[in-house]
């Protein structure tokens, strides 16, 4: 938390009644920060006034948290928690209804040999697969998440992106994973990015007054610097993001512990300043139980208990689930499992 925003919004700091980013009250909290998003200049000054990030120090902190040793009961807890936080994902050109249905079945019952294994949080698909997934998951409580806004590059006109979003919501998507316009961000057109997120959020609304939850993907591998990641995190949260998400999984560098830690810190600071709770989703490249547990440790020691639920932390992953299941089997049986004892999807 820094002076520049914390002190200006001191009244909020002293009455931090937490409200969820997707709740009705959040809009009022964000309205209290309206002056920093009033125009391009104000937004730029605010984002550039955020404290800098020392890359080496951030990486060192993430690495140190990665040395926590999570054993026995803590490991069992972490594995089940991680499974319950997975957005089980298929985002391939070759996706078919059959493939999506298989993934949904896996999400509902990850370990056919052990019904105590928790189900995943969501199935994440392209918009045209939302209806299929929705049907397959009917009654399971598992959400359908859809990428949108010309995923993964985000290179389409705004009306197309909004149509993409509305289409997915209409098809039953519970959550929308939008990508930001990295080109606009990198060229300094922050207000353009801000407005786009706001408009997509509006497009998430359903006729009944409810709305799909909005995850905003930064593609941090393309933003490159940690300073950019902190700025874009604040920008997205100010625009109304319910979740901030690292990556599409489609570029060379996806979620990393330091980037995720930095986003967790931004969420922590945003919460301290506004009382609004925002979720975090690292995506791409998280394949092992060991990695997943490192992320949970980061959440635990940065944001704490309130974020240790699928409502506020997700893993965007596909192969991670099987490794978690094998580790889970190891814990319950005492012997190492193998890939033949978990299902391929």
């Amino acid at each position: 938390m820094t002076l520049r925003y914390a002190r200006r919004y001191a009244p909020l700091v002293t009455m931090p009644i937490t409200v969820p980013a997707y709740g009705k009250e959040a809009a009022g909290r964000l309205a209290s920060m309206a002056d920093v998003t009033a125009d391009d200049g104000a937004l730029r000054r605010f984002l550039h006034g955020l404290p800098g990030v020392d890359a080496v120090g951030l990486q060192a902190r993430a690495a140190t948290l990665g040395t926590r040793s999570i054993k026995t009961t803590a490991k069992a807890y972490a594995i089940d928690l991680a499974i319950s936080m997975i957005d089980l994902t298929t985002l391939e050109g070759a996706d078919t209804p059959g493939k999506v249905r298989a993934l949904c079945a896996k999400g509902v019952s990850p370990d056919p040999t052990d019904r105590t294994a928790p189900k995943v949080a969501a199935i994440c698909v392209y918009p045209d697969m939302v209806a299929t997934a929705k049907e397959a998951l009917n009654g399971s409580g598992i959400h359908v998440a859809s990428v949108a806004t010309a995923f993964p590059a985000g290179r389409a006109a705004l009306p197309v992106k909004l149509a993409d979003t509305r289409d997915a919501v209409a098809a039953g998507a519970d959550e929308i994973d939008m990508v930001i316009d990295r080109g606009a961000f990198l060229s300094g057109r922050y207000m353009s990015v801000f407005e786009e997120i706001k408009k997509v959020k509006e497009a998430c609304a359903r006729p009944d007054g409810s709305a799909a939850h909005l995850k905003v993907i930064f593609e941090t591998g393309e933003l490159q610097t940690y300073d950019n990641v902190r700025r874009v995190s604040w920008l997205a949260m100010l625009a109304g993001a319910d979740f901030i998400k690292t990556s599409t999984g489609k570029v060379a560098v996806n979620a990393t512990p330091p980037v995720t830690l930095l986003m967790l810190e931004a969420v922590r600071d945003f919460h301290a300043a506004t009382g609004v709770q925002v979720g975090v989703k690292p995506a791409g490249g998280i394949r092992t139980t060991k990695d997943a547990i490192k992320y949970l440790v980061m959440v635990n020691e940065t944001l704490g208990e309130p974020w240790l639920t699928a409502d506020w932390f997700r893993f965007g992953a596909s192969s991670l689930l099987n490794d978690l299941l094998m580790q889970r089997q190891k814990l319950s049986t005492g012997r190492y499992s193998g890939p033949d004892y978990v299902t391929v999807d």
Binding site: M1, P51, V53, G57, I70, A74, Y77, L308
Partner: protein
Amino acid sequence: MTFDYAPAPESRSVVDIAPSYGLFIDGEFAPASDGKVFKTVSPSSEEVLSEVAQAGSDDVDRAVKAARKAFEKWSALPGAERAKYLFRIARIIQERSRELAVLESLDNGKPICESRDADLPLVAAHFFYYAGWADKLDHAGYGPNPRPLGVAGQVIPWNFPLLMLAWKIAPALATGNTVVLKPAETTPLSALFFADICRQAGLPKGVVNIITGDGSTGASLVAHPDVNKVAFTGSTEVGKAIARTVAGTDKKVTLELGGKAANIVFDDAPIDQAVEGIVNGIFFNQGHVCCAGSRLLVQESVQDELLDALKRRMATLRVGDPLDKNTDIGAINSAEQLARITALVEAGEAEGAERWAPACELPSAGYWFAPTLFTGVTQAHRIAREEIFGPVLSVLTFRTPEEAVEKANNTPYGLSAGIWTEKGSRMLWMANKLRAGVIWSNTFNKFDPASPFGGYKESGSGREGGRHGLEAYLNV
């Protein structure tokens, strides 16, 4: 359900501590000539770990004689051969690092994550670094064919027992000196294990001699007339006594002493990393660090935010069993040190500073102190001037860079300082003005064998590490 980390104890069984140890003189373990012994205890449990010999002046004399005898051949060895012995030692340390890390945490009380990830890697690296110098001394910038001094008497502290041993022995041996080393009274074990490493490495007898004992053993080693070089790391008070002892002799002396480092945070600092740096600066190794950032100087305009963030972070520190892999802060090294910390903290309160510590359950046995910070501290408070050598941070404020420099330098010490700012020109200006031997900018408590370490003013003289560290052991 909460995410409570289950105990993750490192295995105690990887280290086999003998019930008693003699003095390691001339390649053999032998009891003290008068048979005296003392116990070394684990500060986290008060369990007696072993009984070690208390070297008297006769034993010191025997050790110095052994080192003198070994010096002739050792110093005449080609540098490349000495190098190979040091490389062997470095490798064996790496091989045995898990065992040594556990031993260090048992005897010293420091958390296993630190002995494993900081102490031991640095110990091995130090031997590697100086091994490479042994056959390159002609190129070290001290003229052609610089010569060793002879017998080095080395006295080391309890805060980094094996690392301080490495800092002393590696450059001494690389340059062709032989050594008599006395580890601290409360942490003798890793040095005695090092004696076994010397045996495994085939190091010639007498090149390294380890004598255990208390302050009187150290004093008689320093005063021994046939010691050519004295190297000491420890308190400024003892350092001054040593400086008096060697006055008027030909003994070369290097001293690494106390500190009261300022860790200076400007309003444009990378706040999250600054908080980590502050925590690392004062709570690393329970604050038993001569270069600890024990005075936080924070620009008044960010004081509130920084302290909020710091307290929030301190609340996540895990204090407890040093052998648990998730412990951040271990045990205070001794009852005596705990008493000193407690006394200074009480003085801080009595002088009007405001004490804060996170809720923190401390084990019932052993010596413990919760991570603590004091706000409302002024330059006049004892806790702003005296080295506490514990997990206690004094917070002071400043308004301008000039004031920060003035306050930072307003101490008889001058070992280290920290600067946190994103502005490069200000960082360099500050680094230039601060009177301290090590300046950490946007980082803190970083060590490397290639990087010279040592203080200005009453923090000592001479440098350890790097090319500079050779000078202390050469006739230059």
